[in-house]
Each structure stands twice: as C-alpha cells, then as structure tokens.
C-alpha cells in the first residue's frame, strides 16, 4: 500500500490541545509520522494531499448511534449509517443495542461486527445491552460479550430502572472492568411527558418532562457507584442541575463521566416551535438556561463527551401529532457542523470540542484511536472550520431524513475522512496528487 502525505495542515492534537502547522504521513493504515512545522518532502511513490491550512485532527468517535440493523433496515443499515458517519468526519461509531434482535448475546455482537466489516466504511463498535432483551431484569453475559467485541454496556434508549438490578450490574461490571452507560431518565417521572416541563409545554398543551426525571436517576446511580466502585457513564445530561451533580461526583473522586447530545448543546425547547416532531428528543430539549449550563460544562471539561445521539426515524413515526410521534433525530452527519456553532460563538474552543469527540471517548473505550501520534490508527478528519452551507436533508446519506437541522445555516464541515488510511469521504475541492 502506497503512503499518503497530508501536507500543509493545521494539526490539532486533542491530547495536548495544541494547534500547529505540520504534516502527517500515513502508511499501512497507521500514522507513520507527524511532522511539526514545515512539511517534509513526500517519500518516493507517496500520494500527496495539500490540506491548504485546514484543520487535521483524529477522526471523530461517536459514542451513541442507533442503527436499524438488524431489524429496522428501512430506517438505517450499518452501510448507510457508516456512509453518513464518514461524510460527517466520524471514523468510529458505537452502535446501540436497541436492535431486533437486541444485542444481548455474543452471537449478535459477532453478527454486527461481521456485517460492519463487510458493509461499513468506518469502524463500528457494538455496545451490548445491560439486561437481556433490554427488559431491565436479568444481566447479560458481560464477560463473554466483551470477549466477542462489545465495548460498553447500556440499555440504550431505556434506563436500567430497577435499583437492585442496577446495583448488581455495576457490581458485576466492576470485576470485568466493563463500562456501564446509562440513559439517565426516571421513567415514572417522564410518564407521558413529551417535552421539557415548563411554560412552553403548558402553552402548547403538551405534557412536560421535569428535570427531576434526569436528576433523580443520576443521583441514585451515583449513590450506587459510590457503593460498587464501577465505571459509570451518564450517556447524556441535559440540564443545569445535572451538571452540579456530576461536578460533585467527580470532586469526590468517583469513576463517573458524562456525555451530552449535540442537540442539547445547540438547540433549546423553543426550536420545537409549532410542534416540530424532529425536535422531539430524549432527553428533551430544555430551557435556554439549561443549554447554556451544559455548554459551559463542556467548555470547562466537566462534560467529557459530545455524542450525536443519531436516531433515524421514518415518516411513519415522525409525521404525526407531536405527542404521538417517536423520539429521536438524525445526527451523525451533522455532529461536527452543528457542534461548530459553539466554536463560532466563542463558547467552546475548537481543541476542547474536538477532544470531547476524539480523545475523551477513546479513553472511555480504552481504544488507541483519537490520537495524532505515530503508530496510532490513521483515522483522520480534515476540517474546514469556516465552510458555510445550508443543510439540505435530501443530501444526507442516512436512509432517514429526520434532521432537526434541515435548512439550518451551518458553518464547518469534514472535507476529508480517512479510516485506517483509506479515504472514505472527500469533498470535490480536495485533490489527491499521485
């Protein structure tokens, strides 16, 4: 395999947060050399890409993507999800176990990995269910699932509701060093709620979801982490009170981390407008003051990870009255473009944002991806941080079209994506010289 030189780039190393001019040499699927400063000459026979001063970073790692394969291929397949990921600069996606059948046994993990190897153009890492059938009652085989290739354990869209089941899962997970990722929502407090509780929901005549649905579950879980010592990751937090709870847990030295959906970083409940079902999400879009609190927590490093919460839904589940529609929005292809809003507003620095989508999730998963150093996998993304465009959902690679950013003005996009040294996405303006 010939070498590829990515010359004349602005290197962004999430490990150090440093940005500097330089070049990256890729050979045999790995980063062979990272050269700071002036570009070295291309080795004999190497192809060259002139990066024109754009930002070269490790490829993004998305810790939370729902893929319809197996079971709901009409919404999304591993092939279509990975194509969307590549176009969005995501080189690794963690797929959720909410499939049919559920990813709750080694055979299904194996199936997903083989399907991904044959059809997906980015790395696909399956997360397995915490409980069999996502039913919340019996633990899955954490040890065997990890051996088969499961990278974390989560009941996906559902919280592990029963405190005794959660306690045992955390206790057992600790022995295997397994990571539990919890959807922090207390189902009884969610009830029939469909959006953030407050004045806006009351005016729309919709049933609200109180912030306490999130904080009650988060507080409970953190008590159980204190009891068991297991590694716990709150998949997505959405409100100011949760930020405080996470801060306290981290301050106490507990093995607790948390993520946030890009939607809760750049949208608020007002985006629902007149019942836009594409903005019906779980956790719900919250008040603007909550959005600002999670943005600040991300900037401060209190929130570890930014996820797309990619959840393809078809017309039949979205073109309904708000209360009858399904939760979820597309996200993996717009993750970077949407999150770049925070950079352009000056709320979050680019290195900090990229770290939350590369080095931080890689560390949680114990993977060597997400780094810009010789020897690391050549999963890379070239970002044009200023590229302006109007998002057109018809051009999205996903099989579904439920993007809350349709017709939104975004600025910043992946113009080149490499997975294992292979080009999986390239904008027309990026030329490869032989």
């Amino acid at each position: 395999m010939t070498a590829l030189l990515l010359a004349n780039a602005r290197l962004l190393d999430p490990a150090t947060g440093r940005e500097s001019p330089g070049a990256v040499l890729v050979r045999d699927g790995r980063i062979a050399d990272v050269a700071q400063g002036a570009a070295p000459g291309a080795p004999e026979g190497a192809r060259t890409i002139d990066c024109d001063g754009l930002v070269l970073a490790p490829g993004l790692i998305d810790l939370r993507a729902f893929v319809g394969e197996p079971g709901a291929e009409h919404r999304e397949t591993l092939a279509s999800a990975s194509a969307a990921a590549a176009a969005g600069g995501v080189t690794t996606l963690v797929c959720m176990p909410d499939t049919n059948p559920v990813i709750d046994g080694p055979a299904i993990v194996d199936f997903v990995l083989r399907r991904a190897r044959d059809t997906a153009c980015v790395n696909v890492l399956p997360a397995a269910a915490v409980t069999k059938g996502l039913a919340g009652r019996e633990m899955t085989e954490f040890g065997l699932l990890q051996e088969a290739g499961a990278v974390a354990f989560t009941d996906g869209l559902k919280a592990v509701r029963n405190a005794q089941v959660m306690r045992r899962a955390l206790t057992y997970a600790r022995d295997f060093g397994a990571l539990i990722m919890q959807h922090v929502e207390e189902p009884d407090l969610v009830g029939e709620g469909v959006m953030n509780e407050g004045e806006f929901a009351s005016r729309l005549g919709l049933i609200g979801i109180p912030r306490e649905a999130e904080t009650v579950m988060l507080e409970r879980d953190i008590r159980l982490v204190r009891l068991t010592g297991a590694r716990y990751h709150a998949a997505m937090i959405s409100c100011a009170d949760s930020v405080e709870i996470i801060a306290r847990a981290k301050n106490d030295g507990l093995p607790v981390t948390c993520g946030v959906s890009v939607n809760n970083l750049v949208l608020n409940e007002g985006d629902i407008g007149h019942y836009r079902t594409f903005c019906r999400l779980s956790p719900p879009l919250r008040h603007e003051s909550d959005r600002q609190a999670v943005v600040k927590a991300l900037a401060d490093g209190l929130i570890d990870v930014v996820v797309s919460d990619h959840n393809p839904q078809d017309v039949e589940t979205k073109r309904l009255p708000f209360a009858e529609a399904a939760d979820g929005a597309l996200g993996i292809e717009t993750l970077l473009g949407a999150a770049m809003r925070l950079v352009h507003t000056g709320d979050v620095g680019l290195p900090r944002l990229i770290a939350a989508m590369t080095a931080a999730p890689a560390r949680l998963l114990g993977r060597e991806a997400g780094q810009l150093r010789a020897g690391a996998p050549a999963d890379l993304v070239l970002i044009d941080p200023d590229l302006p465009y109007l998002l057109d959902k018809r051009r999205l690679k996903s099989r579904s079209k439920n993007s809350p950013f349709d017709e939104a003005r975004l600025q910043g996009a992946a113009v080149l994506t490499l997975v294992g040294g292979e080009i999986v996405h390239r904008a027309p303006e990026i030329a490869v010289a032989a």
């Binding site: 005016r203 005549g205 019942y275 009255p321 708000f322």
Partner: protein, 314 residues
C-alpha cells in the same frame, strides 16, 4: 347577516393565540347578529351556499359537533360529519393520509377535533381549504373561548375590567388555555383556581393569579368558570377522590357566596354534577350554562362566515 366591522385576515382558526383584540371583537359582533338570526323562524342564510363543510371528529363530542353542524347548515353549507368510530383511522390510516383523502374531495371548510395537541395545525398544513380547530388535546378550543366571551359580554355588557375565575382541571383543559388568552386580550383579569396537581407548570407566567384555596380565589369575582374533571383523573391519580374534590373545589352555594353577589356561573359542558359543580348551582339563577350552548351556535356561524372570504375553489 350584517357584514362584520372588518374582514378577518386568517385562512384558518387554529387558536385564540395570534388573534388581535379587534379580530376577536369583530367575531363577537358578527356572533351577536347570528343570535338574532337563530331566534327567527327563518334561520337560513346563503353565505355558504354550495360550500362543503366536513366535521372531522377524532374524539366523540355530541355537543360541539352538532353545534358546528347547525351553524354550517344555517349558513347554507352542505355539512358532512365524519367521526373516528366509523372511519378508516381506526384501521391504521394516519392523520396525514386522512387529510389528503378528505382534501381530494374538495371541501371548503374542515372542522377538526383531535385528542393530540398540535394535530389540527399539522392537518391544516396538508389541506387547501380552511380549517377550524374544534379542540386539539390540551392545547386550544377557540370557539369555546369565543362563545364564553360572547356570553359574558351579553350579560355583563363588557369584558374589560371584569374579574374572571377559571376553576378546576386546568392542566388537561384546552378550554382554560383558550379562555386565558382570549379574556386577557379582551381586558379581563383572570384567576386560576385548583389543586396544584391539576395546574400546568409555569402557569404564573401566563399573567394570571393562581389560587389553591377556592374561597380566597373566588373573592370579588364577576364570573366563575368551572371546568370538567375527567373520570379517570378522579380516583387517586391527580386528586384522591370525588368526595374530597367536591369538598374543596366543587362549586356549591357556600363557595359561590364568596364571589360578588351578581357573579355568574359558567361551564363548557358536559357537567359532572356533584363533582365540580352542585346541581342547584348549575340550574340556579346565576347560571349561564344553557345560554352558553345557544351562543355556541352563533359564534360558530360567525367564525364560518368570517372564514368565507378566504375559501378555496373560487
């Protein structure tokens, strides 16, 4: 029927929200004229002659549906009633499909009631004709608010400056939401009274005064508007029991005595006698409940007539 003081600039009536005070008052003026028509022997007008009105009711409602039917017929429209029990919606057809199917029949007006908030807006975006919201979930019920305003204005001579109390299950009530917006737009001061389990979050931001004690809330009120409490919410989920609810929030003579001596009592119907209102009050001298029904037909005639200037198929 006389021409209203000004033309109505909207194609649909989806809610009170978004209407200006002159627009609301214009509809009430038209409705006053419609009351006179409805009290004559010859009640028929030709405003909607040749027009087709479809009443599409996803939730059963004898009262509102017959009121709209009568209003349409008095204006000369051909009225067709479609209710969910006899339609293909039960067979899995979506709201959008139903809208497209009905739209292909080229109606001029569709009157819609649906159990989900926002469903009528969704449907209105998919059809070419005018749409009237006859109640969507806990969101809005604009013609109820208009008929309540008309009833008050005809009995008190004004709405501006009146103290109105809306009592009971505000949380699940589209009638309460539309009335709060409408009465405030018309210059009334609005109080809301109920147990907090039945009050929506952020209610104080609506510009209303909130009371959980009914006697305190009724003090000095000109109008007492009661809301229906659904049966499934009576037994422990939102309030402990009918007995307890009636004791603290049911309108009886003792509680009504705290309002002004000339206070008037209203209820959108259908009533649960002995739950939110005592029978002797419902049938008593201060009750406007039966008059509200008459005003309902008049207000719906006014709305249909106001929309007539924007109908399709011309």
């Amino acid at each position: 029927m006389t021409q209203g003081p000004q033309s109505f600039p909207h194609r649909h009536l989806l809610g009170i929200e978004g209407l200006t005070r002159p627009e609301i008052e214009g509809l009430l003026d038209r409705a006053d004229a419609a009351v006179d028509i409805s009290r004559q022997v010859e009640k028929k007008r030709v405003t909607l002659r040749g027009r087709t009105q479809i009443n599409l009711f996803f939730e059963p409602s004898t009262r509102t549906q017959s009121s709209f039917e009568l209003a349409g017929k008095r204006l000369g429209a051909d009225v067709m009633n479609m209710s969910v029990a006899s339609s293909s919606v039960k067979k899995g057809e979506t709201l959008i499909d139903t809208a497209a199917t009905l739209n292909a029949m080229r109606p001029d007006i569709i009157v819609v009631r649906h159990q989900s908030a926002g469903a009528v807006h969704l449907l209105a975006r998919k059809v070419d004709c005018s749409v009237v919201n006859a109640g969507d979930g806990a969101h809005e019920h604009p013609t109820q608010a208009l008929l309540d305003a008309l009833t008050i204005r005809r009995n008190k001579g004004r709405i501006e400056g009146l103290q109105v109390a809306i009592c009971g299950d505000v949380l699940h009530s589209r009638v309460a939401r539309s009335n709060i917006i409408s009465l405030q737009a018309l210059g009334a001061r609005v109080r809301v009274i109920g147990p907090t389990t039945l009050l929506p979050a952020g209610l104080e931001r609506f510009g209303v005064e909130v009371f959980t004690d009914m006697r305190a809330g009724l003090a000095g009120c000109d109008i007492v508007m009661m809301l229906r409490l659904q049966r499934e919410r009576m037994n422990g989920s939102f309030v402990p029991s009918v007995k307890e609810y009636f004791r603290y929030y049911g309108l009886d003579g003792d509680k009504l005595a705290h309002a002004k001596p000339d206070a008037l009592v209203m209820h959108p119907g259908p009533m649960n006698r002995g739950v939110e209102i005592a029978s002797d009050i419902a049938d008593g001298a201060q009750s406007l409940i039966r008059e509200q029904v008459e005003m309902g037909v008049a207000v719906r005639m006014a709305v249909l007539e106001a929309l007539a200037t924007h109908l399709p198929n011309d």
